[in-house]
């Protein structure tokens, strides 16, 4: 309970930083969201996407390329959990409501870190700072894909880290971290990663 309170405090503090970062989004050329699996209806409401709009779309797309290498009890939904401050605004919720991953509805949750082990993806904002290491330790080797836009996320044991390359949102992958968690990332995804650290598992499973 105390942990949950702390996160809430940080979230309020980082609010203005998220807004300044959203200015970058104006430079994005086209509706990247719409490049994702979208319906024609979405095409009609094309608007200038922000950086976090793009990241939201990527976040959902990651879910489509990650699989658990071990048998998992069936889940009622695919949960995308956000720890700390939520910089996405309504865009993530809007996208998630129209999506399914592995035929499961997508939910966006803001749980406590101890409850996040059952999530499909956990996003930790870069504003969490030193808490990121703590969050990762708490998650341990749970089968959760950890994503963040913190600059040293991969060194700290995170799996996917957003980057900004020439005003494009890209991402990097730490395969060692992915392998520790019995997760398998599609080679298709790795192909478009900006860089990949760690080694792929020998024989498919760690």
């Amino acid at each position: 309970m105390q942990r949950s309170f702390t996160i809430g405090r940080f979230r309020r503090r980082r609010d203005h930083i998220v807004r300044s970062a959203s200015r970058l989004a104006a430079t994005f050329t086209a509706a990247l969201i719409l490049g994702s699996v979208a319906t024609p209806r979405v095409v009609a409401q094309a608007a200038k996407p922000t950086e976090y709009d793009v990241k939201a779309a990527y976040l959902i797309n990651f879910g489509k390329f990650v699989h658990d290498s071990e048998e998992q009890e069936s889940r009622p939904s695919f949960d995308i959990c956000i720890l700390g401050r939520d910089a996405f605004g309504q865009s993530l919720n809007a996208l998630a409501s129209n999506e399914t991953i592995d035929h499961l509805p997508v939910r966006v949750l803001h749980p406590d870190v101890t409850e996040a082990k059952s999530c499909g993806i956990v996003f930790i904002s870069s504003l969490e700072g030193e808490n990121i290491r703590e969050d990762l330790v708490l998650l341990g080797n749970a089968d959760v894909l950890t994503v963040s836009d913190a600059s040293d996320f991969l060194e700290r044991g995170g799996m996917i880290q957003f980057l900004l390359v020439q005003n494009h949102v890209r991402f990097a992958v730490n395969l060692d971290a992915v392998n520790r968690a019995h997760l398998v990332l599609s080679s298709e995804l790795l192909r478009v990663a900006f860089y990949v650290t760690g080694k792929p598992p020998i024989g498919g499973k760690p």
Partner: protein, 487 residues
């Protein structure tokens, strides 16, 4: 049609085979070409669809994570498909995402777009085919790929295929020719042989020849076998006929030999009979003569008359025996042919008749020069008989004319003795030359009925013919011919 009229069967078969196989091959070539062009085009379209699917599948993440470089590297793999000239990946909003051009200098603008309901569409413009295909991912679509391919390669392949087909056509022609030679061996050669055999059989009547039986066991072999069987039957029948003919000939020969033996025996018998009869007859004659001359004074008139009749009968019998001996000689004596003149003989006979037979007014007309190659003694017998007959049967004429002459009929010299005497009934002309057959009674004209038979025998032995014409009261003419006359 003159093409089929002449020529041998083998020529026709060759021509037929080439015509049929050529037509079949040409039709096959054309249909295969059409089919292949269609198939090649279809294959190109199929491979385009496959490549579009692969490019699409490999571009999903690039589209989803806005990685143009990844998309373009995916597209660059199309370099291995030389018929793809250009390819473009569009995002769902229609904005171009990545592009591939085989020839970088090429201008390429998309003019056709998929409608919302289409998943895939082909457009054909000239020699190019444009394919539009949606990129699917997990039930939705993340973009679309367009590919432009040229069919020039299709045309090139068609040309190459045509070249191969022409080569095959040539090979097929050669095979057809070889097949024809086989047919010639199997069909035509046996037929020719059969025809040749049939010709030999018809021309030379040689039934011992046989047609060669072909190695195959088809209708032709059956035909040849039947033909040979027929020849065999004919040959067997021919042989039987020959055998029976030989047997018949032999039998005829045997009969002839028997007959001639019997004939000789008969002649010898009649000769000896005639000869032996002469002795007793001479005896009777002598006694009759003595009776007439020495003891006739002691006899009454009736007795004298009886003696006269006895002498007359004896004289007639003597004549008959002479005639019979003549006939016998005419049959049995060997012929001694030499060149003689019938006119001389006729003249001497006529002279003897005129000097011996007393006062009669008979005019002899004897043509000069009738040379023949014959037996003189026998020919004298013939002429004595004929002229003697003429003399006899003109005895009741006031002015008798006897003519011996010759005429030429159908390149054959015909001699004749003509008189203006009693003649004969032509109905019985065939009886004239039979021995002892007489057309006149003994009281009318005396005779033995052997003379003409003797003449007939002699002329026949010389290889000639003898016949007579005449009518009652109009005289008679006896003709005869002699081969080798005048030689």
């Amino acid at each position: 049609m003159r093409l089929w009229a002449s020529q041998s069967i083998s020529g026709k078969l060759t021509r037929m085979t080439l015509l049929v196989s050529g037509t079949a091959l040409l039709l096959a070539y054309v249909s295969f070409l059409i089919y292949d062009l269609y198939t090649l085009r279809q294959q190109l379209m199929d491979s385009m669809a496959t490549e579009a699917n692969i490019v699409g599948a490999n571009s999903v993440t690039a589209l989803m994570f806005d990685d143009r470089q990844a998309a373009e590297s995916t597209l660059s793999a199309l370099r291995n498909s030389p018929q793809i000239r250009a390819a473009v990946i569009l995002r769902p909003d229609g904005v171009e995402f990545a592009r591939y051009l085989r020839d970088p200098a090429m201008q390429f603008e998309l003019t056709n777009h998929l409608t919302l309901s289409e998943r895939r569409h082909f457009w054909t413009t000239g020699r190019d085919i444009l394919l539009g295909s949606r990129i699917q991912f997990q039930g939705g679509w993340v973009g679309s790929v367009y590919m432009l391919a040229e069919t020039g390669d299709v045309a090139r392949r068609a040309g190459r295929f045509g070249l191969i087909s022409a080569g095959m056509l040539l090979i097929c022609f050669v095979v057809a020719l070889l097949a024809t030679s086989t047919i010639r061996h199997l069909v035509t050669d046996p037929l020719t042989d059969l025809a040749h055999t049939a010709q030999i059989v018809t021309r030379e009547r040689d039934y011992s020849v046989r047609a060669k039986i072909p190695p195959s066991s088809d209708e032709l072999s059956f035909l040849v076998r039947s033909f040979n069987e027929m020849l065999e039957q004919i040959q067997a029948r021919d042989r039987a006929l020959e055998a029976s003919r030989a047997e018949l000939e032999q039998r005829v020969e045997e009969r002839t030999a028997e007959l001639s033996l019997t004939n000789k025996e008969l002649e010898a018998f009649s000769y000896s009979v005639a000869h032996d009869l002469r002795g007793p007859l001479q005896h009777i004659n002598n006694i009759g003569f003595l009776l007439q001359n020495s003891v006739s004074e002691n006899l009454n008139n009736e007795g004298r008359l009886l003696i006269d009749r006895l002498l007359e009968g004896s004289k007639r019998m003597s004549g008959l025996i002479d005639d019979l001996l003549n006939l016998s000689r005419a049959s049995s004596l060997p012929l001694h042919r030499r060149l003689i003149d019938l006119s001389d003989i006729a003249e001497s006979i006529a002279g003897r008749h005129l000097s011996e037979k007393g006062i009669r007014l008979v005019r002899f007309m004897i043509a000069r020069g009738a040379p023949v190659f014959a037996d003189e003694g026998l020919m004298r017998v013939v002429l004595e008989n004929l002229i003697g007959n003429a003399w006899k049967y003109t005895s009741k004429q006031d002015s008798a004319v006897i003519e011996f002459s010759s005429t030429v009929e159908n390149d054959e010299t015909v001699y004749f003795v003509r008189d203006n005497g009693a003649g004969f009934n032509p109905r019985y002309a065939d009886r004239l030359f039979r021995p002892f057959q007489r057309l006149h009674s003994q009281s009318e004209f005396a005779g033995t009925g052997v003379g003409l038979a003797t003449a007939y025998r002699i002329i026949t032995r010389h290889g000639g013919k003898i016949w007579a014409t005449g009518d009652v009261g109009k005289g008679a003419t006896f003709y005869f011919t002699l081969p080798y006359a005048g030689e």
